[in-house]
Symmetry: C2
Subunit: 417 residues, 2 copies
């Protein structure tokens, strides 16, 4: 394959995770070593940074701080939710991107994100090909939702799963401290795929998890939910722990979280429209149905940024995915996303870094297979446990100073225009 | 002092913490070594276990599991919120306790808890003295609220503070990932004392904390709050992170959390009365006032049970407090609580284990001194930072199996009646 000399730009996109910066560290450290890549840039706020010519000169960063990115949560460069138009309808953005790539001699464009970001990456890749501009375009996967097609799992998922399972075990213990009725609903992120909510089954596997788990893969039936809960509550000494995906919907496709907004829509001043998440709505249903105090706990942002409780496996894989993207591109690969392939040898888990076409991965969602959900729809089978356990192996946390995490501090020197 | 031979019973009371079981481990392991204490019992659900003669025979537990109590959150024996009557008004419970103590030859009674529990402990101590029944009664402090009188700080506080500060730093990073307006309100536990909410100032000290902090020590003025927030929002590129104690009240003594219930009180079916905590109410106020999307995050139970992110200093002190209670009692001390006294030698923090009269500590709340709160009432001074930093030193987490915490599993063999 031909050797391509030119600069690299890397952007982060979509919701942050505990390990998105680990992939950045992998890309940056590998690219800085390569003699094909004179300059390494980080786009400020993803594709917007490219459109606005705002990117950071990574060569100016302290190598120690780049290393710290491995254990720094969130998105150090800034992220964006920006959907590119169909280039056949409106190619303004694409022309601008090409202009910027030419100006800065960008020959390596890497984009880190989930479904939408891979769509962006794919569109840019195809446009550059059509325009005859040689640029190696690579996707680096990322999403706590674990819903990317073509990869065994996604960077960011395992750390969020480890945190969710750990916190669920802790809440399990806390919530049954009194000899009184206890009903608690845990709300976990995931609009369309229930992978992260399913992680609470790991806590149950360890004997300290939810009695019932509701995933967005199945239609949510309020009557069945109430009946399920009553049964556990009665048979289980008035203790009930439920985990639910934020994205569960009824048979009409209506989000359960909207049940709360509807009721509050007549309110103004301190209006409650935003208050009732899925967990809160269900906790209130159970309060009425079971006649006891109930509690909703929303893991909220904590679940996607808990770098203090990350999976070492996840951090290392995310870092390696970044490195591999650079290695593959320098070797001549373009128009692909780096993906994980699982192999098991003598019962031991190994991860291989393979390639998947960007056009295949763009906008395709991978959900939990029905057969991994128990027939009654309220739990996960051993197949899921076996799938998830190797991913959460190993403990990663940032270096500690004064008892608190020391996260990376980038200088963020803007590249001269 | 006279040598007293007899059995020991230990009870846990009030809200759980990450280290209440560490104190149990300290009491149990020390008591099991003592030749003055033939039998060691753990009361099921605190004082209720004594009244109902339900207690566990700790000699039957595996020493390895007792050791694991050090890193197991919540209350392994079960806890209770039970307020004993004034014995001059109704001495039924006291008579019953005396009866049980005599039956089981209880000569050492230890109670682990906060203000109310120390009141219980004090009342029992005085009653036993009056009844002429020789029993050494010791309080072991515990509360994430850090509001016990007579001790520099309370077991459980530091671990909750470390978790709150860590999670705040992580949320800080997560919440500013997009180049869009961001307003987030963190709600922290603490009805009357703001110590735990103040821990978010540690995150600010590290450059990744809230812009504004509101404590229950000061009257909450909604107009001032809105003005404070607008100022930060405008001057800070539309980013605003607020931390607030669940217990803030307006000048009429009304909880801010009640502002939400009022508005929702007309609702029934999925009623919102319980939905709006302080954080949610304030996030909705800011949504209206600033005209942008806002988010409330409630640390909820997570903050008091996050053993995976505990302070090693806290765990070791809590364990030692339990040990010291046994040692003091065997030496002849009674009617006291073990307390922490801080000494600084060459800038290094040391903790001494001293004694404080139960009658002094019962029902007295210790709040944050006004001079540790900044004059404008929205931050903490360096005195608070210097106070808190040594307490959160060192990382403690449970042993890990399969990537998840391995908590203690007690056999809980009930003592034969």
């Amino acid at each position: 394959m031909s050797k391509l000399i030119g600069n690299l730009i890397f952007g982060q996109s979509g919701g942050p995770t505990s390990v998105i910066n680990a992939s950045a560290a992998g890309v940056f450290t590998e690219a800085l070593k390569s003699d094909c890549i004179p300059k390494v840039y980080g786009a400020a706020y993803g594709i917007r940074g490219i459109l606005e010519e705002k990117f950071y000169d990574i060569t100016q960063e302290d190598p120690k701080e780049l290393e710290l990115l491995k254990t720094t949560p969130s998105s150090a460069l800034g992220s964006v939710r920006y959907k590119l138009a169909d280039p056949d309808v409106d190619d303004t953005d694409y022309k601008r991107i090409l202009e910027v790539f030419k100006k800065y001699d960008i020959r390596y464009f890497f984009y880190n994100g989930g479904n939408d970001s891979m769509d962006t990456c794919n569109k840019i890749s195809k446009y550059m090909q059509k325009a005859g501009y040689e640029c190696r375009v690579m996707g680096v996967p990322k999403t706590i939702d674990n819903d990317l097609y073509g990869t065994d799992h996604c960077p960011g998922y395992a750390s969020a799963a480890k945190y969710v399972a750990t916190a669920t075990m802790e809440v399990y213990h806390d919530a049954r401290v009194y000899d009184t009725p206890m009903v608690c609903v845990l709300e976990v992120m995931g609009r369309n795929a229930g992978w992260l909510t399913a992680a609470t089954a790991l806590a149950a596997y360890k004997g300290a998890g939810p009695d019932l788990i509701y995933l967005p893969e199945l239609v949510f039936d309020m009557d069945k939910f109430i009946a399920d809960c009553k049964k556990v509550y009665e048979n289980n000494n008035h203790k009930l722990l439920v985990a639910v995906s934020e994205g569960v919907k009824d048979k009409n496709g209506k989000y359960i979280s909207e049940y709360g907004s509807d009721l509050a829509s007549s309110k103004d001043s301190f209006g409650h429209a935003q208050l009732g998440g899925t967990g809160a709505v269900l906790a209130n249903v159970l309060k009425k149905e079971l006649g006891c105090k109930t509690r909703a706990i929303e893991f909220s942002l904590l679940q996607r940024c808990a770098a203090h409780c990350a999976s070492k496996t996840d951090v290392e894989e995310a870092f390696t995915a970044g490195q591999k993207a650079v290695q593959y591109a320098v070797e001549g690969i373009t128009d692909h996303m780096v993906a994980y392939e699982r192999t098991m040898k003598n019962g031991k888990y190994f991860c291989n870094y393979v390639l998947v076409n960007l056009s295949e991965v763009a906008n395709t969602e991978k959900k939990i297979p029905r057969e991994w959900i128990t027939p009654d729809g309220t739990g996960l089978t051993q197949e899921f446990i076996d799938y998830a356990l190797p991913l959460i192996e190993g403990e990663s946390s940032p270096p500690i100073e004064d008892g608190l995490p020391r996260f990376a501090k980038l200088k963020k020197v803007l590249a001269t225009k």
